[in-house]
């Protein structure tokens, strides 16, 4: 076995680089917010997840035409990376009772309510959280969510129902009447 004599071309072409940069600029914020919800407010982990997601996309960007839906592809990579990472880290982590304060701190009632929601999300299992985020934040259908998470549609429905019930229980008086649709 020997290495190629010539240096392999491993970087996308210039136009593709600009294209990728535009994609990150256009989708980075939304994907980061998705990651923030998946991690229930762990902004460091959220940023890591987004970087890993875009890094993997960059590595295949020259062949992106084989990715029918780059936006959906990025979401799928993100949630699966998140779930995989949580599995790997679960043995060394302990449950989090409180989410950390976001930058800027808290103080008003609205912020408290938002933090209550993030705390409630943090008490869901990672997979249940992914179901909720994909279904109600990314507005994916049951079938799309099932495909992304490699679950059956029935499992997605049952997990979604269970997670919504838990959220309602925990949010209580703060959001007594919110609807799932």
């Amino acid at each position: 076995m020997s290495k190629p004599a010539a240096a392999p071309t491993v970087a996308p072409m210039a136009a593709e680089v600009e294209d990728f940069q535009d994609f990150v600029a256009a989708r980075g914020t939304q994907l980061y917010y998705t990651a923030c919800l998946l991690t229930a407010g762990d902004t460091h982990l959220a940023e890591d997840l987004v970087q890993e997601t875009f890094g993997r996309m960059y590595a295949v960007w020259g062949r992106r035409r084989r990715i029918d839906n780059p936006v959906g592809y990025a979401q799928t990579v993100l949630v699966n990376t998140f779930i995989t990472l949580r599995r790997k880290r679960s043995s060394r982590e302990q449950p989090v009772a409180e989410v950390r304060d976001p930058p800027g701190g808290v103080g008003d009632g609205d912020s408290d309510l938002r933090l209550t929601l993030l705390a409630a999300l943090s008490r869901l299992t990672p997979q249940d959280r992914a179901v909720i985020v994909l279904r109600y934040w990314e507005d994916r259908s049951v079938e799309e969510t099932a495909t992304a998470l490699k679950l059956s549609s029935g499992v997605v429905r049952s997990r979604s129902g269970r997670a919504l019930a838990r959220l309602r229980d925990q949010l209580g008086a703060d959001f007594p009447e919110f609807t799932a649709s």
Partner: protein, 310 residues
């Protein structure tokens, strides 16, 4: 469930919740993604240096770089004079550093094993914060390098350095060492775009390759690569990335100790023998399911099997 317009939907509630987070710096996200993407591509292609499409420079420029480029000499001197070594980020409250090497079993090199091995191999006065804003722990578990046909595992995360950002430490262990030399490094990197020195460490050949800031990406990072070819035939590879060589968190001696740590030899032994010997791999194909890890597979021409790859 019907939707009363006066009641907030869950989507509304989630939309409201994310307003507590500051929007990310997408330029920084892009820079980090490019670094990570190049790292993945580098392993996929087996190139000595990722992303270098620069034109070849002149021999004179190379001579200057070899003479003038910073090296670990400064860091080694600081460590030997009693300065703190390998400063790291304060650990998260949930962080638990492994106190014993992971158990290595053939066919069971999981992500936890390779990550624990690196944490164990790092200097004992260091502690690794898991995700710290740069690279979090990222793991490639038992994948095939489609160029060299060897199996490898890889992990990367960030430890604190003396500079404003942490040092990204990436380690990969290859079952079979490749015939790299400084010549192949310079050919791949482009003369004048880096320096390479060869030495002997613990009975094996060591290549120490420095690529100055601004060569591999637009973020101004410097890259230092170490490839150690063990006498027994495996290869350990460490990549350090930071703003400048002076900020790199590990000294040369500390990096040598990581490279030659016995735990990586055990991991290399537990990896399968080279794949698709005598055959060639197809161009990478996407896995059956979007998002499946690893993201790509390659098919061997001789046995027709799909192998995980990056």
């Amino acid at each position: 469930m019907s939707h009363n317009p006066e009641q907030p939907s869950l989507a509304d509630v989630l939309e409201d919740a994310v307003t507590v987070f500051e929007a990310p710096n997408t330029a920084r996200l892009h820079g980090a993604a490019v670094r990570r993407g190049r790292q993945i591509k580098r392993r996929r292609t087996g190139a000595a240096v990722a992303g270098s499409t620069m034109a070849l420079g002149t021999a004179g420029v190379l001579t200057f770089a070899l003479t003038a480029a910073p090296s670990h000499g400064t860091a080694v001197a600081a460590a030997s004079s009693g300065a703190p070594s390998a400063k790291v980020v304060s650990p998260s409250p949930t962080y638990i550093r492994p106190t014993a090497p992971p158990v290595i079993r053939s066919g069971e090199i999981t992500g936890s094993v390779i990550t624990d091995a690196l944490e164990y191999a790092l200097p004992q006065d260091s502690q690794v914060e898991m995700p710290v804003g740069g690279f979090g722990p990222t793991v490639n578990v038992e994948v095939v390098d489609s160029t060299t046909h060897t199996w490898y595992v890889q992990t990367a995360f960030t430890i604190k350095s003396s500079g404003p950002v942490g040092t990204t430490v990436a380690v990969s262990v290859n079952h079979t060492a490749q015939p790299d030399t400084c010549s192949s490094f310079n050919r791949n990197a482009g003369s004048g775009e880096g320096t390479c020195t060869q030495s002997t460490v613990d009975g094996g050949k060591l290549l120490d390759e420095v690529v100055p800031s601004g060569v591999l990406d637009g973020t101004g990072n410097v890259y230092e690569y170490f490839e150690w070819f063990s006498p027994s035939g495996y290869e350990t590879y460490v990549q350090l990335t930071d703003n400048t060589v002076a900020d790199l968190a590990l000294t040369k001696a500390q990096t040598d100790a990581v490279l030659t740590n016995q735990i990586f030899g055990e991991i290399a032994q537990a990896l399968p023998a080279d794949a698709c010997v005598g055959g060639t791999f197809s161009s990478p194909v996407d896995p059956p399911s979007p998002g499946q890890s690893p993201l790509q597979h390659v098919r061997c021409s001789s046995d027709g099997q799909l192998y995980p790859s990056y």
